[in-house]
Subunit: 233 residues, 2 copies
DNA sequence: CTCTTCTTTACACCTTCTTAAAATCTTAAA
DNA sequence: TTTAAGATTTTAAGAAGGTGTAAAGAAGAG
C-alpha cells in the first residue's frame, strides 16, 4: 500500500515543523498549507488521505475551512486547536471534523489518532463484513464473543495463534489471503521467515479442523500466494 | 432510519445514569452493561451501532474488552475513562477504540462525538457495494478481491503468473498489449528472452480458458506485436 | 520445574517456470 | 501457386522454487 498523504494546515512555523518532522519519521508523506485558502486549494488539488487542521488561521476561520472542504470531500479532518472550550469543539465536530485535539497536544496521541483514522480508511476500502458474533461454515463454528471453536458438537482446542489465523480466514471466506497479509494481521510484523511458521500453523490447524472422517476441505493452498477458506455447503 | 442503538458499558451507577438520561433525551436507544463479560455478551447479542466503554471495569480490563470485541466486530467504540495518561489513550486507540474521552467529560462533547460517529456510519453504508471489483467477459469471470477466476460455474486453477497475465489482459480488454508491456508488468523486467516464456504462458492460459467446447476466443495474437483480450458477447 | 505454545530446521515431495527443439502458421516475394 | 523466412504454438524435460510434515530446540506461562 502507498504511503498515506497528510495535508498539514498550520500557520505557526514551530508547531508546523514539529508535526512535519514527526510525520516524516513515521513514514507519512505530507504537504503543508499555512492559511485557509491554500488549505482548500491543496485539499482540492492533491486529494490527501487525511487533513490535520489548525483552527487559528490568518485568513479564514478554521471552521469555515472545514465546511468548504466538506462541500465536496469526505477526507477525514483532525482538528488541532488552541481553543479548548466545549463550544469550539462541538462547532468544529458538527461542521464536519472527525476529531479534535487541543494544544498543547501529545505527539504520541496525535500519531495514535492518525492510526485510528488510517485503520478506518482501510476498513472502508476492504469493506470487511464482519458483524455476526458466531460464524458457521459446514461443521465449523466460531463463537467470537466466547472465543471458542467447534467442529460439529466437539469443541476444538486451538492455541492463540491458530485461533487468530482461523478467525482471519473465516472473516474472509472465499478470499485468498496472502502470506504477508496473514502474518501481518496475526503477528503485526511480516518478516520473511515467518512464512515457515505460518506453514506449520496451517498444518496443525488443518489437522484439527479436517481430522474427522468428515474430511471436508476447509483450507485451500494457493501456491506462491497464500491460503483461503472455502465456503462449504 | 431507525434509532441508533448504543451499548453503554459503565459500572459506576451515577455516571451511567447521566449518560443514559442524556441518550434518552436525544432520541437514542441504549442498552447497559456493568462489567466486561456482560459488555461482550451484549455486544454479541444485540449488535449495537456504537459502544460507549468505560475502561475501569470490575472484572476484565477495558482494553481487553476492546480487543475481544474487535475479533468479530468493527462497531465504533468510544472510550470514556478516568485515566488521562497518554499511554492509556494510545493503548486503547491502538487496540481498536475509535475515540477517547477523559472524565470528567462534557455531555455536549460526548453528543458531538456521537454525531461524528453516526455520520461516519451513514457514510460507510452508502459507500458499501461500490467496490464490486469483479470482471466478467462472456463466461470468464475474475474476482480481484478474492483472487479467483471462473469459467462459467467452474473455478479455474491459475498459477500466479497466469493470473497476473490474465488480469493485465482483462484490465485492457480490446487493447493490444505488446510483449514487452506484458513482461514488464508481470516480471518487472523485460529481457528479450522472456518473450519465449510469455508464449508458453499464453498457450497454457488459452488451454485453460478456451478448453471447453464453448471455444469462445478470448485471446487474440497480433503477430510481431503482442496479444489482446477480445470483448465477447 | 513442567507444560504448552511457538519457532526453527531439515527433507521429501510437488508445482511452477524456463528453456530448447520441433511443428505449425503467417506473410510476402517470385 | 509455390517457396522461404520469420513468427508463433506446442511439447517435453530439467531447473528452480514453494509446500507439508516431523521433530527438536526456544520461549513463555503457571
Amino acid at each position: 500500500m502507498n504511503k498515506t498523504l497528510i495535508l498539514v494546515v498550520e500557520d505557526d512555523a514551530p508547531v508546523c515543523n514539529l508535526i512535519t518532522t514527526t510525520l516524516k519519521t513515521h513514514n507519512y508523506k505530507y504537504i503543508v498549507a499555512a492559511n485557509g485558502e491554500n488549505a482548500i486549494a491543496e485539499a482540492s488539488s492533491h486529494n490527501p488521505d487525511i487533513i490535520l487542521l489548525d483552527l487559528g488561521l490568518p485568513d479564514i476561520d478554521g471552521v469555515e475551512v472545514i465546511k468548504r472542504i466538506r462541500t465536496w470531500s469526505n477526507t477525514p479532518i483532525i482538528v488541532i486547536s488552541a481553543r479548548s472550550e466545549d463550544a469550539d469543539k462541538i462547532e468544529a465536530l458538527d461542521s464536519g471534523a472527525d476529531d479534535y485535539l487541543t494544544k498543547p497536544f501529545s505527539v504520541e496521541e496525535l500519531l495514535a489518532r492518525l492510526r485510528v483514522t488510517q485503520r478506518r480508511l482501510v476498513m472502508i476500502q476492504s469493506e470487511v463484513n464482519v458483524n455476526q458474533s458466531v460464524f458457521t461454515n459446514g461443521k465449523l463454528k466460531i463463537d467470537y464473543a466466547a472465543g471458542c471453536t467447534y467442529l460439529g458438537e466437539n469443541e476444538l482446542h486451538l492455541t492463540p495463534s491458530e485461533y487468530k489465523i482461523l478467525c482471519l480466514l473465516a472473516q474472509n471466506v472465499g478470499k485468498v489471503l496472502t502470506h504477508t497479509f496473514i502474518t501481518q494481521n496475526v503477528w503485526g510484523k511480516s518478516l520473511e521467515n515467518d512464512i515457515a511458521s505460518l506453514r506449520v500453523f496451517m498444518a496443525t490447524l488443518r489437522k484439527k479442523i479436517e481430522s474427522e472422517q468428515d474430511s471436508s476441505q476447509y483450507i485451500q493452498t494457493h501456491i506462491g500466494v497464500g491460503y483461503r477458506m472455502l465456503k462449504v455447503e
